[in-house]
């Protein structure tokens, strides 16, 4: 149980940190604006292939953070509980 928790926590913090850095690059017009990390994506005309890769990675990391943590904190325990309940009922 504790192992699953720390896996989820690792995904949540690690993925969240990487997403935060990328969102700080591509979705933060200024650190004094009221729209930080969530502003519309702004890539200049001089954007390289790495910039578009970064934007792609940012979205991927966001959903990895959300879904990964939910998987280990909610999904897997739910499946285990359900399996236990089914086995108990079968006996």
């Amino acid at each position: 149980m504790a192992d699953e928790f720390v896996k989820g926590l690792g995904i949540f913090t690690g993925g969240g940190l990487a997403w935060m850095v990328l969102a700080g690059w591509y979705r933060t017009p200024s650190f004094e604006s009221s729209q930080q990390l969530v502003a519309p994506i702004s890539i200049g005309d001089s954007a390289t292939m790495f910039d578009s890769l970064g934007v792609l990675l940012m979205d991927a990391l966001f959903w990895f953070t959300v879904i990964g943590a939910l998987t280990f904190w909610v999904g897997i325990p739910l499946i285990r509980q359900a399996r236990e309940a089914i086995e108990e009922r079968a006996q």
Binding site: V21, W25, F31
Partner: protein, 257 residues
Amino acid sequence: MTDETTSDTETDDARTDGSGIVAPDDETPTWHERKKRAQGLSRLTYEYFERARREDQDLRQESDYVERDVLAFPTWPHEVIRNLAIASFFVGMLLFLSATLPPHIGDPANPSSTPAIILPDWYLYWSFGLLKLGPLNPELSILGGQKLMADRTYGVLANLVVVGIVAIVPFLNKGSARRPVEQPFWAAVGVGGVIFAFTISVYSAKNLLPMNVDLAFDLAFLLPIVGGFITWAVLKTMREGYMYDLNRRYYRLRPPK
């Protein structure tokens, strides 16, 4: 584990670490106790403390010390390695963030223009919120519906009362508890206080709150009570698995000769 075991260290053949295959009679859990520890949070707590006890026992068995010399873990390597790991983590995080997200230096503040929002530093928000307790200032019918004192005087008085209560708490509770589980009530009081500090801080910026101000005012006083009650209930449940002696042993002072 118990004082019995500790006094056994005086004799030569007794084990100094509390190990032994058969538990003494007063340590053997009854069937009632076994049942209480069988599931849920109490089982988790029990397993945690049992594991901590076991690690402690192993450490004592490997060690050259006899128990009366061991008042705590030695600084090297236990404390130093842990502190180095924590310090390395935070230094690395500082370097990483300053390298990847360097904030620009903004314009200097303009001293001739007053900002629209005036707030103290964040750690004084709670005090600022206490200045806004006007709705609690009673209108006394004996004075013909007048208030005894102005709202701002009332706010200053509220600050004095809260600071006074915080200053009194150490004199009210002089217990030797080391962890919240040992005194659920006082832990609940502490958690309630922390939540109140937070809610009253939020209320201090009530003109910026995107919610009903009256509701925020009520929640500022209700949430601490709710949080304190939940804390109390959780800690009461955890007491079932908690071993009081385990904790006390580390902090015991060397007895006088």
